[in-house]
Assembly symmetry: C2
Homo-oligomer: 208 residues x 2
């Protein structure tokens, strides 16, 4: 396969290298083909890799887009005609570590906290179906149970309630992180009901 990598930083560099090593033809887009970094990247990726301009890389049949979000629009618009191309979008519209520049403007959890004036709200148990809560055993694996809130003691309570049920409770941060946990719930629901996975699946958080 011919792969064009637009955005040859940590992510694009890693994926492009691994695909080149697997035998694919990989073109890393760059404005500085002669830079030391780019020459090292191409050498590390092996004989099926090369460096070229964005426009050249965009001629590949499959394009990986791994640019920093603020640079994305300009680079995509400069890449030439992309009609019919497979474009793998790896970007994330990160505003900073606290939010995304698009979508995720608020959450049900924050809304509930407004309604329940004074309550110490913890968002939890919203990311898996009730069949999983009834029995979270997948062999000897513990499933992730993500929760978030602004009150440390309240989160401790939820943590132990989740652990009692057999989950691996994971503190995801302040209540505004419900903006991330609620989409995760819709992901579970849509995988279960629309993508054919059924309801007997869930995520484990693996550490190494």
């Amino acid at each position: 396969m011919n792969l064009g990598i637009i955005g040859s930083g940590n992510v694009g560099g890693t994926l492009g290298t691994r695909w080149a090593q697997a035998g694919h033809q990989v073109t890393f887009a760059t404005r500085k083909p002669d830079s030391k970094e780019m020459q090292e990247l191409v050498a590390g990726a092996g004989p099926t890799a090369r460096a070229a301009s964005v426009q050249d890389a965009a001629k590949a049949e499959v394009i990986l887009l791994a640019t920093p979000w603020p640079a994305t629009e300009e680079i995509v618009r400069s890449a030439g005609d992309l009609s019919g191309k497979v474009l793998i979008d790896v970007t994330n519209p990160l505003l900073n570590l606290d939010g995304l520049a698009l979508g995720t403007t608020t959450s049900g959890g924050e809304q509930v906290a407004q309604w329940a004036a004074g309550a110490r709200v913890v968002k939890a148990f919203n990311t898996v179906g009730n069949n999983i809560m009834a029995d979270p055993r997948f062999g000897d694996r513990l499933l992730a149970l993500l929760y978030c809130g602004d009150d440390a003691a309240a989160k401790k309570t939820v943590h132990s309630l989740a652990a009692e049920l057999g989950f691996d409770p994971i503190d995801a941060g302040p209540l505004s992180q419900a903006r991330l946990l609620e989409p995760m719930a819709l992901l579970w629901i849509s995988l279960a009901l629309k993508q054919g996975l059924g309801r007997e699946f869930a995520f484990q958080l693996l550490r190494r």
Copy 2:
């Protein structure tokens, strides 16, 4: 612990039953304490469970809120003074199976597709760090690699590129599902960098 369950359907019923069976005092909120369903729920949960009004259940030290989203505001507002309560919010502001009523209004993936006119955009490889892409091995476990897009053939390409790297590729549906995969990326980032998990973790999708 005293637990009040507001919303005694599938989710609240399941969690309340399991906590009651673990020995907690559980009060299921209901408008119909004498209904057959509620009597069966309480009997199944055992001697530490009972049924009561929403206002009564809300007197517990820990409240589980598991109402359907459209009913949530009214029920929370009717629950009385919630100051200082631990309120576990399990609700999801589901609009329907296609979206949330709050947040998630668009995504970088959809924006990229507008910029890259005619390209067959697949959102992928955005939910884990490059250290995971470089080496996705966690013992013999395969990590989930979620992707979404509107072109079936393009998704097939991405599926095999992900499988080649040692991932378990999972089709998450149309490109608009990037509204769910981008928050998942920010979740990974914030767990790694702010919640102390570091970068050497990722999610496996377990099936049973």
